[in-house]
């Protein structure tokens, strides 16, 4: 298997500077995603899953600040540190190479624009050239069929736009009503095609709808359509099925699986549901209080969990006929996190050293990483 890492997060530290103090939300997060695989990121609410995913797009909600670490991403064969890129460069990556699906589809769709206008926005942003060429080609063919020579204003405009995408004259000309009719038609066609690919019945009608007219599952399909419109290399799915009915959840999961194999994208799937994780991921990263505590192959992790927190998490899955177990204590406040290993005061294996030393993230077996002092990871 090729060890091509698409995304690699090393020692990511992120703090929120609030009035009550500094919230140490991410305290050295490590993980990586290989080409074409699905990495499940599990953890309790507030452990930093969503912040990790937003950091990957370098969209840090204020008052957050990244204080350390690297986010390496493979752009055209070159590894670049996303944290060091200009905003301009990042905008060419967002929505094109990395895109995101969120928990509440209807909150993440703009209520005042139609489905089609929200999807075509991404297409026009990242695939403009392709549609200009298409529109030009179809206009040319049409004229050839009619036996006409020369070119129309619309065709000239497209040619100029292709040659000179940033010219101001072209921008002004393209504002003339009707001057981009064929281009818009091509984009519209693509929107419908994408929606149909999401398993949406009657995509022409859905495209004209507003978000409030869609059901939850339908809205989530639209959000996924928007995310996949430019065939991203990495899809970040932040609890996309949490608020959906179980049957719809299953549909969305199988949709993501199918699309993943179709587009050969990698997926970072964030959830607190271990059942979903076992269903969808190739590997799993377990997060606790701002740290990734364990990273392993999904079978390996379920069979041989190493970190005491992972074990606790797996034991707290309800099973019929067995008493429900839970991890004692509560998730610590990140305003004032425990010293050393952040899990030590809830851990039944805690040793003296755990109070003082933050365990390093070490590879104890091949491709099985754990951050725990039990495994000699301390340095």
């Amino acid at each position: 298997m090729t060890e091509e890492r698409l995304l690699e997060i090393n020692g990511l530290v992120l703090n929120f500077y609030t009035y009550e103090g500094i919230v140490q939300a991410l305290d050295g997060v490590n993980l990586y995603i290989r080409d074409g695989e699905t990495l499940g990121l599990v953890g309790e609410t507030g452990c930093g899953k969503s912040v990790t995913s937003l950091s990957t797009l370098v969209l840090i909600p204020s008052p957050g600040k990244i204080e350390g670490g690297r986010i390496l991403f493979n752009v055209q064969g070159k590894k670049v540190d996303l944290l060091k890129q200009s905003d301009e460069h990042l905008r060419t990556i967002r929505g094109k190479d990395i895109s995101m699906v969120f928990q509440e589809p209807r909150v993440y769709l703009n209520p005042v624009y139609t489905v089609s206008s929200q999807i075509s926005e991404v297409l026009v942003k990242h695939r403009k050239e392709e549609f200009l060429k298409k529109a030009l080609e179809s206009l040319k063919q049409e004229r050839r069929k009619k036996g006409l020579k020369g070119s129309t204003f619309e065709m000239n405009l497209y040619e100029r736009m292709l040659k000179n995408p940033n010219s101001l004259t072209n921008k002004i000309l393209s504002k003339i009503p009707g001057s981009q009719r064929r281009f818009k038609l091509e984009v519209q066609r693509e929107v419908v095609r994408i929606l149909r690919g999401m398993g949406i019945p009657d995509p022409e009608r859905v495209a004209k709808m507003y978000p409030h007219e869609l059901s939850g599952g339908m809205a989530q399909r639209v959000v996924i359509a928007m995310a996949l419109a430019c065939n991203p290399k990495l899809l970040i799915a932040d609890e996309p099925t949490t608020n959906l009915d179980v049957t719809v959840q299953a549909q969305i999961l199988s949709l993501i699986k199918r699309l993943k194999s179709m587009f050969k994208s990698s997926v970072l799937y964030i959830t607190h549901d271990l059942g979903v994780i076992s269903e969808i991921s190739d590997r799993v990263a377990v997060m606790y209080a701002g740290n990734v505590v364990e990273l392993a192959d999904v079978y390996e992790l379920f069979k041989k969990p190493l970190h005491p927190y992972t074990r606790g998490l797996l034991e707290s899955i309800p099973r019929p006929g067995k008493p429900l177990k839970s991890i004692p204590g509560t998730v610590p406040s990140l305003l004032n996190p425990p010293s050393g290993c952040r899990f030590h005061d809830r851990c039944s294996y805690a040793m003296e050293i755990c109070r003082k030393v933050k365990p390093a993230f070490t590879e104890v077996e091949k491709d099985h990483f754990v951050a725990c002092n039990l495994y000699g990871g301390s340095k």
């Binding site: 937003l54 797009l57 969209l59 990042l90 905008r91 060419t92 990556i93 967002r94 929505g95 094109k96 895109s99 995101m100 969120f102 509440e104 909150v107 993440y108 769709l109 703009n110 209520p111 005042v112 624009y113 926005e121 991404v122 942003k125 990242h126 004209k208 507003y210 409030h212 959000v223 928007m226």
Partner: protein
């Protein structure tokens, strides 16, 4: 196609709903008149003061059924109102209806200049303030808005007048210079098409009149703008901040859109809704007179007339003004509702 039809039915429905609202308002106003004895109520029906002498007052009371049950009186009154008869205004020495017709254009002329600036500039500043929250621009805008809002209009008006009239002599008070007023009122060459002197000046080809009227409008319009813009800035800022905190903003950023596209397309349209509401109410309340500003500048608009009538217990004038105010507010609300439907597709369904 379906959407456009939806919008049309929505507007039609709002228009039909107007009728019961206006009727309700008229009933309330009529109820107030019932507090007065028939001898005073008779003032509400006459078209000139000669029509009401001690000798014929009984005749008026009889003609308009002023001793009959209230429902008969109401319909008689309503019939008169619908014919444009709102009684005699002692304050204006004219029928109430024509008093309003003469004074409303004056107020309207101020609003035509003040309102667009208040709304457009206020919206712009509010949005910029939200985008640069807690930065210097935000602090400056907010402090300036608060200072403007806290300025007493009579004080601010006097200062402006002292500088621009007393000291510089540029912008005089009143509605027109005396000679121009005389020309406008008596010349055969000047027809008052609209009562808006700036517009009438253009229509009559008398640009000097327009220019004179414009000079008189600048100061009152400035006072109103500086004071009331704060309201729009604050509403625009807070609704923009709310919009910027929404999930769809993260989606828009995650699509790779620029900051400008995110703000101008995704956030602004959502922030417009509260601003529309406040703008509608603000413009309606300005239309029905800006008492202090008009008084300071000796600008004969609706507000100063209404204040005078209230002082002199001129019942028909006050009630006519109340009726007019109600209608302006109802129309303003209608316009706001229609604008809502344009801005937010969710409202068309409601």
């Amino acid at each position: 196609m379906v959407r456009k039809l939806g919008l049309l039915t929505y507007v039609a429905r709002r228009l039909i709903l107007l009728i019961p609202v206006v009727l309700g308002v008229s009933m309330l106003i009529f109820a107030i008149t019932m507090c007065f004895p028939p001898t005073i109520r008779a003032l509400l029906y006459i078209r000139n003061p000669q029509a009401l002498t001690p000798e014929n007052i009984e005749g008026v009371i009889k003609k308009y059924h002023l001793n009959d049950p209230f429902y008969i009186q109401y319909f008689t009154w309503l019939a008169q109102v619908l014919q444009g008869n709102l009684g005699w205004s002692q304050t204006a020495s004219a029928p109430v209806f024509s008093a309003i017709l003469v004074r409303f254009p004056a107020t309207f002329e101020i609003i035509v200049f003040a309102a667009p600036v208040i709304i457009i500039l206020g919206l712009y500043l509010g949005i910029q303030s939200a985008v640069y929250k807690d930065k210097i621009l935000d602090h400056i805008t907010r402090s300036a808005a608060i200072i403007g809002w806290s300025l007493p209009s009579f004080w601010f008006g006097f200062i402006l007048m002292a500088v621009f009239y007393g000291y510089l002599g540029w912008l005089p008070p009143g509605r027109l210079t005396r000679e121009v007023q005389h020309f406008v009122d008596s010349s055969q060459l000047f027809t008052k098409y609209t009562g808006l002197y700036i517009l009438d000046g253009i229509l009559n080809g008398q640009l000097a009149v327009s220019w004179d009227a414009f000079k008189h409008v600048i100061l009152p319009a400035t006072v109103i703008t500086v004071i009331d813009i704060a309201l729009i800035i604050r509403v625009a800022r807070s609704s923009m901040l709310e919009a910027l905190s929404k999930g769809y903003i993260i989606t828009a950023k995650a699509k790779g859109l620029t900051q400008k596209e995110v703000i101008n397309k995704h956030a602004r349209r959502n922030a417009l809704i509260p601003v529309t509401t406040i703008s509608g109410l603000l413009v309606a309340s300005l239309m029905t007179g800006v008492v202090i500003t008009e008084t300071v500048f000796g600008f004969g608009g609706l507000g100063s007339w209404a204040a005078q009538s209230a002082q002199q217990l001129d019942v028909p004038s006050v009630l006519g003004f109340a009726m007019f105010t109600a209608i302006v507010f109802v129309i303003a609300n209608l316009i706001v509702d229609v604008l809502y439907a344009f801005i937010d597709p969710r409202i068309r369904l409601a």
